[in-house]
């Protein structure tokens, strides 16, 4: 049809949605600040223990030595353990639990939401009743009970956080599926004979992804808060050190050493804040419709 000898007018190169979203994200100052802080924390959690090999369980100095004295940058706790070492080594556990609990949450939530939104009818009815049931259980109490009855091991703590937090993800996924399953391109691929599994996870899910991704990012933050709460209450593996656990074990001594509580709390706060900022930024970048707001 078109004659290749006639030069076409220069067309602006089409950009992938991903690079467009990144462009959007990059212009958001608070989101970028969050990303930088988060990168720093993650790198610290990965490489910190190598650069600062002091064992967090070693009693290195007199207890209650305030920050900055005797070469211990953040001071020592009630047993004379190096708080700096505890913070650095605790970062790993805190981040790993946050991340894996968020993964559990997303897997359960997306599966239940996708099945409910895709099949409708009695499947939806049953799954949504189950979701409602989990919303009625007070989240922290329920996971406290699980950890208390079945043991405070890392996998059990992760499971206990995941099993109480998936309802929001399920609701969002279902709502997206309900909307998208009626779109023409889905009907087309259904007519072309795509099996249900393919329709759900290859055809619909990619388009439902943006809000789920945003929710997942926020889920990591709330899982970290959750783990902190549980270990603050002493429901944690005593052989590992996490930020919440530092606060929990030093709680009785705030009169002597307030910093053993305020510093790890600050670490949790900054981490979760950075994750929230990134989550908000993702939300703006991935939902172009909301940009006017």
């Amino acid at each position: 049809m078109s004659d290749p000898s006639i030069p076409l007018p220069p067309v602006e190169k089409a950009r992938s949605p991903l690079s467009e979203a990144w462009e959007m994200f990059r212009r958001n100052h608070s989101a970028m600040a969050g990303l930088v802080i988060l990168t720093f924390i993650v790198l610290g959690a990965i490489f910190g223990p190598m650069l600062y090999p002091t064992d967090p369980f070693d009693m290195v100095w007199a207890p209650f030595s305030p920050p900055g004295e005797e070469g211990y940058l953040l001071g020592t706790d009630y047993l004379g353990r190096d708080l700096m070492a505890q913070i650095i080594h605790g970062a790993r556990v805190t981040l790993i639990i946050g991340l894996s609990a968020a993964i559990v949450t997303i897997v359960i939530g997306v599966t239940i939401g996708a099945l409910a939104g895709f099949y409708r009818g009695w499947v939806e009815e049953v799954l949504m009743r189950i979701t409602e049931f989990f919303q009625v259980l007070p989240t922290l109490l329920f996971s406290m009970v699980i950890v208390a009855l079945f043991g405070a091991t890392l996998p059990m703590i992760t499971f206990a956080i995941g099993i109480v937090s998936w309802t929001a993800v399920a609701r969002i996924t279902r709502a997206e599926f309900l909307r998208i399953r009626e779109l023409e391109y889905v009907t087309a691929s259904r007519a072309a004979g795509a099996p249900s599994g393919k329709l759900m996870f290859k055809v619909i899910l990619p388009n439902a992804a943006p809000p789920i991704i945003v929710q997942s990012a926020l889920m990591v933050g709330s899982a970290i808060l959750f783990e902190a709460g549980l270990s603050f209450l002493g429901l944690t593996d005593p052989n590992i050190v996490s930020w919440g656990q530092i606060i929990g074990s030093n709680r009785q001594y705030i009169l002597e050493s307030g910093y053993t509580v305020t510093i790890p709390g600050l670490a949790i706060f900054v981490t979760v804040l950075a994750i929230s900022l990134v989550g908000d930024g993702l939300n703006d970048a991935l939902n172009p419709k909301l940009r006017q707001r």
């Binding site: 409602e132 049931f133 919303q135 009625v136 259980l137 007070p138 989240t139 922290l140 109490l141 329920f142 406290m144 009970v145 699980i146 208390a148 009855l149 079945f150 933050g221 808060l225 902190a228 709460g229 603050f232 209450l233 002493g234 429901l235 919440g244 606060i247 709680r251 705030i254 009169l255 307030g258 509580v261 305020t262 709390g265 949790i268 706060f269 979760v272 804040l273 994750i275 929230s276 900022l277």
Partner: protein, 325 residues
């Protein structure tokens, strides 16, 4: 009467939910390693297999799962949540004794968070780029990100240890003698910090939500009409717009009941507030399974009743919701 029929359906579902909680509770107790017989044996200082078997027979623990479940449900219907071997008291007594403190804390915090949150939200919606608006955004981020027990401890250090304005822990000063008002003031003084801490999580949510809905409502046609009629801004904002902006806030409040109970556990533990949260904490430390499960059941009951009430209030406030299931 649509509203009656809808309410009846709601109550029916609520009862089903409660039954489901009971079954879950019982199943967990069943699956958990160690049973009541072990607990009793432990408190006796150990027992051999024969004694353990006799205790199990006495408590019906040798019966099949479904029979035990039936017995358990029958007991719950009579408000019998079991016996705490740690406290040597019926669990129902323990819970009822601790309940008023928790309810007082939770309701005060929720109401405070809602009122202040809506006021902040409305004011900042009217000036989306004002200082207060930025403050609300910042505060909302803080509320999302700060661990609530940390906020509590910071307030404790600042206002009970450094400046000694408020008592460090508990609900009342036992050495205090005096009439009703002296006691009331004492409890109020003990309440300030825990209430502020608990409210801080939800204040952020409410202010952010009411700011968003208020901005939406203020841009709608009927508000423009009201303005065009020549009504004062105050009247338009507080009489016309606020009414419509409230129902999402009430919906959110209903969804928060479970989070409030969770937050209360942490806040009560920080301030040694003698409510259900500290009871849960202590009984978990003591591995007192009947009490833990009793509290879980009871808090689920509170959440369910709370949801029903919210639903009812929402239908009263918002006529559009009345016929909906």
């Amino acid at each position: 009467m649509d509203i009656l029929r809808v309410t009846a359906t709601r109550i029916f579902y609520a009862i089903l939910l409660l039954l489901a909680v009971l079954i879950l509770n019982f199943t967990m107790m069943h699956l958990a390693p160690g049973d009541v017989a072990d607990t009793i044996a432990q408190s006796m200082g150990g027992a051999d297999e024969e004694v353990l078997a006799r205790i199990r027979a006495d408590y019906g623990l040798d019966q099949p799962f479904l029979v035990q479940l039936g017995t358990y449900m029958g007991k719950i219907l009579r408000f019998d949540l079991g016996y705490s071997f740690y406290y040597s008291r019926p669990v129902t007594d323990l819970i009822l004794q601790r309940l008023p403190a928790t309810l007082l804390l939770v309701f005060t915090a929720q109401i405070l968070a809602m009122i202040v949150g809506v006021v902040l939200g409305v004011i900042s919606a009217r000036r989306p780029n004002g200082i207060l608006s930025h403050f609300v955004t910042f505060f909302a981020l803080f509320g999302y990100s700060a661990p609530v027990f940390w906020t509590g401890i910071l307030l404790l250090i600042a206002f009970s240890l450094k400046i000694q304005w408020f008592p460090v822990a508990g609900m009342r000063d036992v050495t205090l003698t005096g009439g009703f008002w002296v006691q009331a003031v004492d409890i109020a003084r003990h309440m300030v910090l825990p209430t502020l801490t608990l409210a801080s999580i939800f204040l952020a949510l409410y202010s952010r939500l009411s700011r968003a809905t208020m901005m939406e409502v203020l841009g709608s046609d009927y508000v423009r009409t009201a303005k065009a009629k020549g009504l004062s801004t105050r009247e338009v904002v507080y009489k016309h717009a606020l009414k419509n902006a409230l129902s999402p806030v009430i919906t959110l409040a209903g969804l928060q009941f479970s989070a409030v109970v969770s937050g209360a556990v942490l806040v009560e533990t920080v301030f040694a507030w003698p409510g259900l949260g500290t009871l849960a904490f202590q009984s978990i430390l003591a591995r007192d399974t009947p009490t833990i499960l009793g509290i879980l059941f009871f808090s689920a009951l509170m959440v369910i009743v709370g949801n029903l009430l919210t639903d009812f209030v929402l239908r009263l406030v918002d006529p559009r919701m009345r016929g909906r299931a």
